[in-house]
Subunit: 165 residues, 2 copies
Amino acid sequence: MNRERREHLELWEDLVRAHAAIVGRLEHEMEAEQGLPLRWYEVLLRLSRAPDGHMRMQDLAEVVLQSKSGLSRLIDRMEEAGLVSRQACPSDGRGINAAVTPAGRHRFRRAAPLHVRGIEQHFGRHLVPAQAAALRSLLSELLEIHAPAHPSEPLGGSQEHGQTA
Amino acid sequence: MNRERREHLELWEDLVRAHAAIVGRLEHEMEAEQGLPLRWYEVLLRLSRAPDGHMRMQDLAEVVLQSKSGLSRLIDRMEEAGLVSRQACPSDGRGINAAVTPAGRHRFRRAAPLHVRGIEQHFGRHLVPAQAAALRSLLSELLEIHAPAHPSEPLGGSQEHGQTA
DNA sequence: CCTGGAAAGTTGTCCTGGCAAGAACTCTCC
DNA sequence: GGAGAGTTCTTGCCAGGACAACTTTCCAGG
């Protein structure tokens, strides 16, 4: 019982370290070779994926893991750089759509291969199929528990942490 | 080939999301229930583990994944809070040892169960043995590649990224 | 129609962290 | 033993991000 817990702790620690190391590399490479902060790339990626190249600020904030205010300023900077633009949302007067500009798409297309290659090289490359399968099932479990895929809980509510055991 | 890559990309995305979600919870719980930023806890943990309750600033910075300057200020704050203290390093005049104070140890002991429980609840609990094993082997591979366990490369050098494929 | 409550974004303010420069010290080699 | 190169830590400065307050808009109920 306790043995298992100890192992889980170690796994968590290692996971955090590996995550940090890989993200660090990806950030550094993206910045060095494309002059693009990883966050910017993330935004461009999400917008490029989106149906008409635009998303509501709120939704975008969620997928790129930033606060509303954080995203607002991020979009400020990217707008100034000409990579995205803000547009009023037709269906909701309060809403704003962040949209990729052509320049943004171009920038994204140039940067994408680097990111794909980086992930493969620093991560995917080391996955054997059994590990990939295990990881997939684990992550889907974890995300189901944690991620507000269907925004149902504010996540900040500390609504549980009861001694479920 | 491309199929596999696509899957690796998805796995990476999911990993990032799961990591963020779990860290978010741990941070929130630690702050809410113990009034302790997770970083502070990390420092207390490392120092409590260390032989005489102290570590060189540099080494500490590495294990808690912060820059030298970041750690310096972090220790400033914790010192002011009475949880750690700075001591001259006897063997090297340039060095500073960060040491846990008794108050720091006390605080750590009170907080540790929460952290352990949190990790088990948000992470370990969902691991079946096969996943744990797969994860362990994967992480050790990744860390061997990436982590400067033996500080040999500055990590910022972008010394490879050649198309190894 | 009007009012009150909720939601979307933006902005003021503050905190944290990184980089680069600086101060203090150590080590090597002449 | 002294000069110069390299470490270790701290500090000035700035960028990025979070929280809370605010404005505008939407919606439900009377």
